[in-house]
Amino acid sequence: MTHFARLCLAGALLSHAAAVPGAAGQLPDGSQKQTVLKLCGTCHSANLVLGRGMTREQWGDTVSSMVARGAKGSPEEFSQVVDYLAANFPPKASATKAPAAATTKAKKPASIGQGADDQQVVDDVLADRGKKIYIAECITCHGPKARGANEGPPNLRGPDLVRSVTVLHDRYGNTIGAFLRQGHVTQSGTPSADFTATQIVDLSHFLHQRVGDTLRSGPFNSVLNVLTGDAKAGAAYFNGEGKCSTCHSPSGDLAGIARRYDPPTLQQRYLFPATPSFGGRNAKSGKPVILTVTPPDGPAVTGELVRLDDFNAALRDSAGDHHSWKRTPALKVEKNDPYATHNALLEQYTDKNIHDVVAYLETLK
């Protein structure tokens, strides 16, 4: 039953304010606030994060998955977003310890705004009491996760309660209680109509907790195990076919890499070094793209790419000076992406290559 343990992540919650642009609370000030507005605001309202609480690692995962979904910005900017979210929206301390007295003024399930604003706010203490009732009276037919039982004798195959419209429409036991009062089989033989109002509310919190944990924002959504490869084969790929050793060395830049990143982060950083993923200790953002621009009448200027589109080019040189040009046929522009080789490999890797290389990198402690 340990999987029933409520992780502190479940403290993530939305503010109760309606998710209407302009009607919500303010994001706290901070040096990176403008970056957050710029990168996240294309799709999200601030309500998405107001009231949520996660570790830096968890915020990193969230931001990283947003990059996969098309969020736009430089690695440095994404790093700033994670810094800001981790600093301003840390895990809720209260979620990790029981409040002194049970209270229904707890929290909504972790959510990205799904469902009704008046959805039940799950109280973990009451849900825990509800869990005991559930185990005693319901689990045989409705299963350990309330997802129903598909095995066993047909008369013990109860329906899925996470998908139950009675449960989803329920607020603090109002529909679940009405249902149970009509009479329902229980494990102990106790008539369900005899459940007290308190027991029904407790059960209600437990079932809504199960619904919340099913959501993609729920606490169980994390990578399980990526260490399935063969380290020896990984070393062979590293030094052979993959040509990784052309640029990297286990005793040089990769020395102790496995101490710096957990395995899922190691996998992500190796595959997508230009995309920030923040799960590790001392995670750094990627190297800049270098631009060299040669005007028709002047010397070449080299620096970090600031902007390049079909019409303009801009860079920041080593002295910190900004340069920009209108692009013309006579203006020579050379772009040097330090991750071009990594990106080209994406078309070539097999999944076995990937898992083997991660297994090998994990040996570099």
Binding site: G115, R163, L168, F220, N221, V223, L308, D351
Partner: protein, 530 residues
């Protein structure tokens, strides 16, 4: 025969609706939109987003200037809003939405006529793609599952009807499409395992006419694409794209979204019809005419809701009624829209997830590229090779234009329960490259591709015009005009935010306007010099 049936059709729908022609949008206007209008989400029923206007063209595009700017002003101190709606234009007035908001704005000046705000009870506020209008009544959907009708003159509410259940975590984001006396309403939401459906409502009363579920009924042959009835009845397939319509065939076309659970498919082995399908329905009955499935047994969240663009084209010298989709899964499909039979299937972006094609022209998913507990490197990523931003087809060039993405990410299984629910996994990280592609509809070959520099992968919709121009957003906040035949970039404007909707164009008082949204703002361009 055809003329007779059209007259009959016009007459019956006129009588059924009771709306006088001339007051606002008429069926004639929807069937043949005048140059001074954009009366439905895609501009017309074909979904091709091609304008026959050519006053703005390759030779004078650099004279285009800013006509006006309209800031919605609802973004307040929080994250900026993002206008994903395609504004409708009727009688010189633009109508557009944000979640819970509708505006009427003078198309010549950008002056606000009215602003309506819905009081929300919840739902995901990710985006709203606009309104439908018939007569002088506007229809739009709210995140909290309501279809709302407003008076186009005053912005006052006439009625609202519930179209989905917020407690089951549905929400609503699509622009309603008006066909005859039907308001077609799609639904969204893939957090819990609930079935997708599309509804038709009465133009006058809003009453439900029919509902079509994105699953077969138990006992039908297609039900064999699910392991059991419970999985099928909780199998997803949301209808969050805007339909196209062929009045001659009297069929509407739309795509359905991902099956549920989204990523972990172990509890729903089989093709999972009618999720991830292009579907043709009779709009009067809601009965299915045919289907084609771009992503059988999807496990990557690749909703096949991209616009089914109707092309009246020629294949091997024979005139054909065609339908083309650049699907989120990286494949371009051309079908015969009379019967759904496949004509072309071809990759138009990076896609490593299929083993080949089946006899029907549908990709066969490779089990090795389904999500894994230790990760599988997949292209495209969850965002897809394309997504909701509408593509364009130009009958002048014969090219289908799509702001496409070559993208990779790693897909993981998180939920190894006997009965996974919800998502059960996700993708992480990734690499993506935005490229505007021009596809020959006859072969699926990419005739030209223009790679957008810049690190962003935000994408916009596309517009093509008889001025031999294509308008699209790049990866650097520019709206760019390109030569439609060659892909050469000709003109740009940096809007400070990524272009966030499908650009439109129209002519008022002899002047051609170009309209696009970026972030919380509408921008109008024209050559106004006298």
């Amino acid at each position: 025969m055809r003329i007779q049936s059209l007259i009959l059709f016009a007459l019956t729908t006129f009588l059924a609706s009771g709306v006088l022609p001339g007051q606002g949008v008429t069926h004639e206007m929807l069937l043949h939109p005048p140059a001074d209008s954009w009366p439905t989400y895609h501009g017309d029923y074909s979904g091709r987003r091609f304008s026959p206007l050519s006053k703005i063209n390759a030779s004078n595009i650099n004279s285009l200037g800013l006509a006006w700017v309209f800031r919605t002003g609802v973004s307040g101190g929080v994250f900026g809003a993002s206008v994903k709606a395609t504004p409708l234009l009727v009688n010189g007035i633009l109508y557009f939405t944000l979640p819970d908001h509708v505006w009427a704005v003078d198309a010549r000046t950008g002056h606000e006529l009215w602003h309506y705000q819905w009081e929300s009870k919840g739902g995901i506020h990710l985006g709203n793609r606009g309104a439908g209008i018939y007569g002088s009544w506007l229809y739009f959907e709210t995140p909290d599952c309501n279809l709302v009708s407003l008076n186009t003159k005053t912005g006052k509410e006439r009625w609202h009807k519930q179209i989905c259940d917020l407690d089951q975590m549905y929400y609503a984001s699509t622009a309603p499409v008006i066909v005859k006396n039907h308001i077609l309403t799609g639904v969204s939401g893939d957090d819990l395992d609930v079935p997708g459906y599309i509804e038709s409502h009465d133009l006058e009363t809003g009453d439900l006419q029919w509902r079509w579920y994105a699953h077969p009924q138990p006992g039908e042959p297609e039900a064999a694409t699910w392991p059991n009835t419970e999985a099928m009845l909780h199998g997803g397939g949301m209808t969050w794209g805007e339909s196209t319509y062929d009045p001659e065939l009297n069929l509407i076309y739309f795509g359905t979204g991902n099956p549920q659970p989204v990523i972990q498919g172990s509890g729903r082995l089989g093709d999972n019809l009618y999720t991830e399908s292009i579907v043709a329905l009779n709009p009067d009955t809601g009965k299915i005419a045919w289907y084609f499935q771009p992503s059988p047994h999807d496990t990557h969240d690749w909703d096949a809701i991209q616009t089914p663009v109707l092309i009246d084209g020629e294949i091997d010298g024979v005139k054909r009624k065609l339908l083309a989709q650049a699907s989120r899964n990286g494949y371009f499909f051309v079908l015969d829209r009379t019967n759904g039979k496949n004509i072309v299937t071809k990759k138009y972006a990076a896609a490593n997830w299929a083993k080949g094609l089946d006899a029907k022209g549908q990709p066969i998913p490779d089990p090795a590229k389904m999500p894994q507990t230790d990760g599988a490197l997949v292209s495209p990523n969850q965002g897809g090779a394309a997504n909701w931003p509408p593509p364009s087809f130009s009958p002048d060039t014969g090219l289908f234009y799509i702001n496409a993405t070559d993208a990779y990410s790693v897909y993981y299984i998180f939920d190894v329960d006997q009965k996974p629910e919800g998502w059960g996994g996700n993708d992480k990280g990734g690499y993506s490259q935005l490229i505007l592609k021009a596809i020959d509809y006859k072969t699926g070959d990419v005739r030209w591709a223009h790679k957008w520099e810049g690190q962003g992968s935000a994408r916009s919709g596309v517009l093509s015009t008889a001025g031999n121009l294509v308008f699209a957003g790049d990866a650097s906040n520019n709206l760019v005009a390109l030569n439609a035949s060659t892909g050469e970039p000709l003109w740009h404007v940096n809007l400070g935010n990524a272009p966030s909707n499908g650009p439109t164009t129209f002519e008022l008082d002899g002047t051609q306007y170009l309209l696009v949204a970026a972030g919380d703002t509408l921008y109008s361009f024209a050559m106004l010099g006298k």
